[in-house]
């Protein structure tokens, strides 16, 4: 660990991989095995990312490691000679648009220059505001999953709500910790056989996985409400109850449950800020509404030395993240003259294509976020807090968005302070974009430096000649 964290101020490598989740680990391993000098930077204390999050020693003693294959992958990455810099946040890109700027755990400034950059920065959870979402006891499914994996029991009675396949394993993880899960509320109707769900039969294994979660929920008497969303969380100092309504008919109350834990999330959206800072072209994904980098099938961006892999390239789950990481690595190896096995690249391409097929089918089961999020945002009651950091209501955002003559997202931010707080629109971004909905001007939240709040002391260290003018 100590070797990981002692970092000189300027580092060079053949490849710098940012993000040590499945995608980054897979890319780093492949590159290092072929003899490239690889740096792997990750802001967390231990490599693993979201899916392979490594348990700390106390957690390991208490609950064990629920994904030991993650530990094995990390061990192989280290054994292959990858220089792993944990606790290192990449917060920006230098004025050359190439050098990565990172801060070490101690706040020391680190410049990283590499021939190739692989952004494997993962995803954010997609949140949509609702009245009461600021109450303690309201969390995202991802957080609930992590805390449960670490043996923490977040509450006694819970509702898990939102949309996407991830809600089922999260409900199961809560059950495992002894939380009584009263209901799962899914905005779509994925679990009713229909043309879309039938297609998934070609992937019995994956379907079986979902089915096994569903069976476990049924055993525990967990109701799965479909076409159902959270209308409101109630409570004074923390969440005490939740009202669920029909998604297709917001006037219709489905249920009201007393809870002390409410997990709400609408899947994942790519964390593509770093590629944007590196100058990579991005597009709006018509199905999700997310801003995604424009990529070749092997993850190469419009900036030829920058690759984007894993969830950062588009949310598709851990197996795809692994495959994308490897595919990008093989592409880099090919373009650096280290001819990797042709057959292997072909097999990987086939594998990726079949994974993409599954991702498409799964996505087809659930409502498209590009429609779901605006629908939910439109029906938000006026006083709902949209931006929790700066306490900005839906009404205020709507008023700014409806400014005479038109308004764009930056103008809405400027006019209300929404998205200008500590999280810098990571949480309210989708809702802001949805509330503004249409019209001229830019409809997206811009990428910003620093990517995370950065100690000014770390900036000072970057200044070569303090006290002198540039």
């Amino acid at each position: 660990m100590s070797a990981d964290t002692a970092a000189p101020a300027a580092l060079t490598a053949d490849a710098a991989v940012v993000g040590a989740g499945p995608a980054g680990l897979a890319a780093a391993l492949e590159l290092a095995r072929a003899g490239l000098d690889v740096l792997l930077l990750d802001e967390q204390a231990e490599p693993g990312g979201q899916y392979y999050r490594r348990p700390g020693p106390e957690v390991l003693d208490a609950v064990g490691d629920h994904r030991p294959e993650g530990g094995r992958l990390v061990a192989r990455v280290r054994a292959a000679g990858v220089r792993v810099l944990s606790g290192h946040t990449v917060w920006g890109v230098d004025d050359d648009r190439r050098t990565l700027l990172a801060a070490s755990p101690g706040g020391a400034a680190v410049r990283v220059r590499a021939r190739w950059v692989v952004a494997a920065t993962g995803a954010y959870e997609r949140s949509v505001p609702f009245p009461g979402w600021q109450l303690p006891g309201v969390v995202t499914p991802g957080l609930a999953q992590h805390m449960s994996a670490e043996g923490v029991r977040l509450g006694r009675r819970a509702v898990v709500a939102g949309s996407g396949p991830f809600l089922l394993p999260v409900a199961c993880a809560l059950l495992e910790r002894g939380v009584r899960v009263v209901a799962v509320a899914e905005a779509g109707r994925p679990y009713t056989p229909g043309p879309a769900s039938l297609g998934a039969l070609r992937f019995p294994a994956r379907l079986a996985e979902l089915a096994s979660y569903a069976a476990r929920l049924a055993r525990h008497g967990v109701r799965v409400h479909q076409d159902t969303v959270v209308a409101r969380a109630h409570g004074a100092d923390r969440v005490e109850a939740v009202t669920l309504t029909r998604f297709s008919d917001p006037e219709r109350v489905v249920a009201r449950h007393g809870v002390d834990l409410l997990c709400v999330g609408y899947g994942f959206r790519p964390q593509a800020d770093l590629p944007r800072l590196l100058g990579c072209a991005v597009d709006r994904d018509p199905a999700t509404g997310d801003t995604v980098p424009r990529l070749t099938p092997t993850g190469r961006s419009s900036v030829p030395h920058v690759y984007v892999v894993g969830e950062a390239a588009g949310a598709a789950g851990a197996p795809t993240a692994l495959a994308r990481g490897r595919a990008a690595a093989l592409d880099i190896l090919a373009s650096s003259g280290r001819a990797p096995d042709r057959g292997e690249r072909r097999r990987l391409a086939v594998h990726l294509a079949s994974l993409a097929g599954f991702t498409r089918l799964t996505a087809a089961l659930y409502p498209a976020p590009a429609e779901l999020v605006p629908a939910l945002a439109r029906r938000l009651p006026g006083p709902t807090l949209v931006c929790r950091c700066e306490c900005v209501t839906a009404d205020a955002v709507r008023a700014a968005a409806a400014a005479e003559g038109g308004s764009d997202v930056p103008a809405v931010k400027g006019g209300t302070r929404a998205g200008m707080g500590l999280c810098q629109a990571r949480e309210c971004g989708p809702a802001l974009e949805a509330l503004r909905a249409g019209g001229p001007g830019t409809g997206t939240v811009p990428a910003r430096v620093p990517l995370r709040p950065l100690p000014l002391a770390a900036v000072l260290e970057l200044a070569d000649t303090p006290g002198e003018d540039v």
Partner: protein, 398 residues
Amino acid sequence: MNAYDAVIVGAGVLGAATALELAEAGLSVLVLERGAPNREGSGTTAGNLHIQAVHTRRPGQAVPLDSEALLPAQKAADGLWALAEERLDADLEVRRNGGFMVAETAEQRRELRTKHVWERRAGLRTELLDGDAARDALPLLGPTVTAATWCPHDGYANPLKAAPAYLAAARRLGARVEAFTPVTGLERRGPAWRVRTPRGRHDTPVVVNTAGPWISDVSALAGVDMRMSPVAIQMHVTVRERPVLHHLVQHIGEGMSVKQVTAGNLLLGGGWPARRMDLDGRSSAGVAGLTGNVAQAVRILPFLARLRLLRMWAGPLAATPDEMPVIGPVPGREGLYVAGGTYAFTFAPLWGETLARMIRGERPRIDVSAFAPDRLTAPAGDADPAAPAHTEKGTAPC
């Protein structure tokens, strides 16, 4: 086609303030804005109300600014800012808590003394303090500060609120604002100007060019070569902090301004050049400016080192070759007025009033003949080909 008494090009703070003044005088006013209002210089500005004399020259600045000549305007603007919130019936977070201008070197101390004399002459009360007296007054100041001037009038107004409030007040009086409507043509038609946009044209006797960084482009539409150049500079802001700094702190020898805003964030700026100016999109802030600004700010206010940077941004402004403001009628183009240049945010209430008075044939509050546009214009056709129309500059006052 619509007829207006006046058409204003640009919905920054100058266009907005002018719109209110003209609407209040009973004129029918149209404001045309190529993007969303208040997104360029006026929405990205540091928002300082610079009332004490400003430093004359920053590193990288080719021409010193005539700081003494600006003082009457600064004093007048101070008086107008004091009334702005009541007049606009809006909370602009105007804070006139005073500010320090610090010096470190002997040369800078000399400059402070000179400036102090100018201020006294202009009737502006400032105090000259040695380093220890300055630290007594503001214990947050670091050990390298050897002198400072204190001006009780320096301040801040929230730029995200100022221009929108002016626009809202103007609208209440009947002014029209069309966003996302660029002016693409200015033609003289008899006694009137024909203002063209992709969404229609308007005839008007009076056109006000408050297009900020695009002043030259808009002037060119009327066949006027106006020697101004756009420059982009950048700002840095920390996460929120409990109230610690109640004054504006500037540096006499270097571009630096630091204050804490109402929301609690500390804002660091001082005219540091942006990494890239992009007049079609967003200019981007760079790391060179960040490190330079933070290094000097932490030297002067060491407590900043323990704060965290939340964000940085860049914005464009219009620089004149002599670093002074420009305001008045454009020679040879009847009914065409222009305002912009140095410290346009501080001067917004004054320039709005001044333009309105000029347009209505009244005498401005202060003599602005030194800032007249004729020093920057050459009639189309006989511009000196040797003189560059757009000077290049690294930094600009802010």
